[in-house]
């Protein structure tokens, strides 16, 4: 049962990856990344090893930070800085989807070259595809807010990869990683807020004053 639950959750993660990629509204993107954070929190509970205090604490911390606090903070930034609601991609939605599909193919291709022990599980390809789609969003979206969402997705992908070794990384380190991501997104959010006040619209593509002439 846990195995099929795990597969289902991993599938949900991939779906949220593509949902963010295809959404044209900022609020939708933030909703999807929040959902992904929640699924991410549940994941360690269903991977093998059973419920220890360490796993439960980590799950609660992850859900709290990634599904509630950070998305809530981004929503606050959008509202307070009156950011326009569209994503404004540099590459169209169709093109983004194709890039996402290519990432999915690449993830499975890489997984098939891995040593025997890792090939069976879906965890590694899902982690890789989440990392890659996060990168795609970071590169192909002009708005600073959505770049933060891309960064969160990238971190989520790496976190999923970390799950494959949940027993090996101690709690202190996991907590440190979570705290760093939290503070990182928080500082980015504050900068996003200032960028908007200064530039009227939060578009990283307008950040072009510093260049080699």
């Amino acid at each position: 049962m846990t195995h099929s639950t795990l597969q289902l959750l991993l599938l949900l993660i991939v779906l949220t990856d593509f949902a963010v990629l295809g959404s044209s509204r900022l609020s939708a993107c933030i909703r999807w990344i929040a959902l992904q954070g929640a699924v991410l929190g549940i994941l360690p509970l269903v991977t093998e090893g059973g419920l220890t205090i360490h796993v439960v604490a980590l799950a609660i911390g992850t859900i709290f930070v990634k599904a509630f606090v950070l998305p809530g903070f981004l929503r606050w930034a959008i509202r307070e800085a009156a950011i326009r609601r569209e994503v404004e991609p540099l590459v169209g939605y169709m093109g983004s989807m194709l890039l996402g599909a290519a990432a999915l193919g690449a993830a499975f291709a890489v997984t098939s070259t891995m040593p025997e022990s890792a090939r069976g599980s879906l965890v590694v390809p899902v982690a890789l595809v989440t990392v890659m789609i996060g990168m795609v969003i970071l590169i192909t979206r002009a708005k600073a807010v959505i770049q933060v969402v891309g960064y969160m997705m990238l971190e989520n992908g790496i976190y999923i990869f970390g799950l494959t070794l949940a027993r090996r990384v101690p709690f202190l380190v996991e907590a440190g990683v979570l705290l760093d991501v939290f503070v990182g997104v928080f500082i980015m959010g504050i900068v996003v807020f200032h960028i908007n006040r200064e530039f009227d619209s939060i578009s990283a593509s307008k950040l072009t004053e510093l260049r080699e002439s």
Partner: protein, 479 residues
């Protein structure tokens, strides 16, 4: 327990500094902690211990980086106290807090024997320094901090992936503890080679971004150009050294596992490409801080080049970490004085500084010869050792290309700095008035300059021993 002290005390002081309302009290706290830190690091040289069950321990390489960071921070702290009298950075109370948290995070990186803990420290340095870059409420400052945050966050995320990949490479059964450096090295023959290779590639990309290796250096000129000079100095001297340490840790493991033929060409290629990019962009650069950023790209390139060459190259690389750190902070502080005087870092507007700010101008000239690796300064010894390494390890064309690139860079930097020092002021009406330079702003760079000079003439035996042992752990040997 001293190791834990070095990490926890600056962190706690950072929190305390935010609560202090008086600027004078914050300055006093900053100086006290910086001095305590240096004293504690001095004690570590005589009496080594470990904390947190072996997670924190100063081995030779870590201790060298820690000592460098501590000395640089002390100098910068002293300078900062004088600096905030002339220019109010935007952060206000947060300025001192961020500096102290930065000290804590860099100490954690230098002392970590646990690679995931090292990562936590590395990410914390990014976060602590970001608010310091954003020192003015304007567009350029915002753009710089945004680029820095996004690019280095992605880089550091890749480094985390490298840490996880390395953990995967460790066999599940067996007595070795996860991600602890001594266990990784002693059990290197049992590591899975596929995961280890993947891990090293991501570590090179991740820590390479933090170091500013080309082509992952694009944040560097903008960030160094816009950050206050003392922050730029801390980044170019201390932060990049810590990032190099992170990469060196992964190299240690990969070399112990017998991946020389995989690791070394990658490092050599990354080093040469960084030298090439630095040479291309230093020529014709119009802003002195941006020039220093490209010079930092050059020196990061030299570090990985030496690491990749092994032998005398690795020895030169370890020595160069120290030399580069000292020179970079000295140059940034000297340039900072001129920027305070002229209000700009654009070369065309800061000419003839010898007449108005003679001490800083002379420091800049000394820095020019030091940073380009001319005798009798320290970088000459380390760069010479790296080039010797290239010749001895049968890479004559690498040695030749390096010498060519260093020559081009020398010409580029010399033209700029000599123009600043001796050139005729372009306009006479807004000429900078000649005033006595404040001791608090020139003592620090003067001390660093004398240290760089000393290291070029004589390396004290304890330091030489530590450098030799650190190089040996990276597959090097004293020439």
């Amino acid at each position: 327990m001293l190791e834990l002290f070095l990490v926890v005390v600056p962190l706690a002081a950072g929190a305390l500094a935010y609560a202090l309302r008086k600027a004078r009290a914050r300055s006093a706290l900053l100086l006290t902690v910086a001095m305590l830190h240096t004293v504690a690091v001095g004690v570590l040289w005589v009496h080594k211990g470990s904390a947190l069950g072996g997670w924190l321990m100063a081995d030779d390489l870590g201790l060298l980086v820690l000592s460098l960071v501590s000395v640089l921070f002390l100098v910068v702290a002293f300078y900062a106290v004088g600096y905030v009298r002339y220019e109010r950075p935007r952060g206000g109370r947060a300025f001192v807090s961020c500096l102290l948290v930065f000290l804590s995070a860099t100490s954690l990186v230098a002392l970590s024997q646990h690679l995931a803990l090292l990562w936590v420290g590395m990410e914390s340095t990014t976060l602590a320094i970001a608010p310091l870059i954003y020192s003015r409420d304007d567009r350029r400052s915002l753009e710089a901090v945004w680029k820095y945050l996004v690019i280095s966050s992605v880089g550091i995320a890749l480094a985390l992936l490298a840490v996880f990949l390395l953990a995967t490479a460790q066999p599940v059964a067996g007595a070795s503890r996860a991600l602890l450096l001594p266990d990784l090295i002693s059990g290197a023959s049992h590591l899975d080679q596929w995961w280890l290779r993947a891990s090293f590639v991501f570590a090179l990309a991740g820590f390479g971004t933090k170091m500013g290796l080309a082509p992952l250096h694009t944040w560097k000129p903008d960030t160094y150009g816009e950050a206050p000079s003392l922050v730029g100095g801390l980044m170019a001297g201390a932060l990049t050294s810590c990032a190099f340490l992170g990469l060196a840790r992964f190299a240690q493991v990969a070399l112990a596992a017998g991946l020389q033929d995989f690791v070394r060409p990658l490092l050599i290629a990354a080093g040469l490409f960084s030298l090439l990019v630095a040479a291309a962009f230093i020529i014709g650069q119009a802003d002195v801080k941006r020039m220093l950023a490209y010079s930092s790209v050059e020196h990061m390139g030299l570090l990985v080049l030496g690491l990749g060459l092994g032998g005398a190259g690795a020895y030169g690389s370890v020595l160069h970490v120290i030399n580069n750190g000292l020179v970079k902070v000295m140059l940034f502080l000297a340039v900072g004085n001129l920027v305070l005087a002229t209000g700009t870092s654009v070369v065309a507007d800061m000419r003839g500084m010898l007449r108005t700010r003679p001490v800083s101008a002379w420091l800049l000239v000394a820095g020019l010869f030091a940073v380009t690796g001319s005798p009798p300064f320290g970088p000459f010894v380390s760069e010479f050792s790296i080039i010797t390494g290239a010749v001895r390890e049968h890479h004559p064309w690498v040695a030749g290309a390096t010498v060519l690139m260093l020559t081009i860079i020398f010409v580029g930097i010399a033209r700029m700095i000599l123009g600043i020092v001796y050139g005729e002021p372009s306009t006479s009406d807004d000429e900078v008035s000649s005033v006595a330079e404040r001791p608090s702003l020139i003592i620090g760079p003067l001390i660093l300059a004398s240290m760089v000079l000393l290291l070029g003439l004589y390396i004290p035996p304890p330091l030489r021993g530590a450098i030799g042992r650190a190089a040996a752990s990276l597959g090097g040997a004293a020439p």
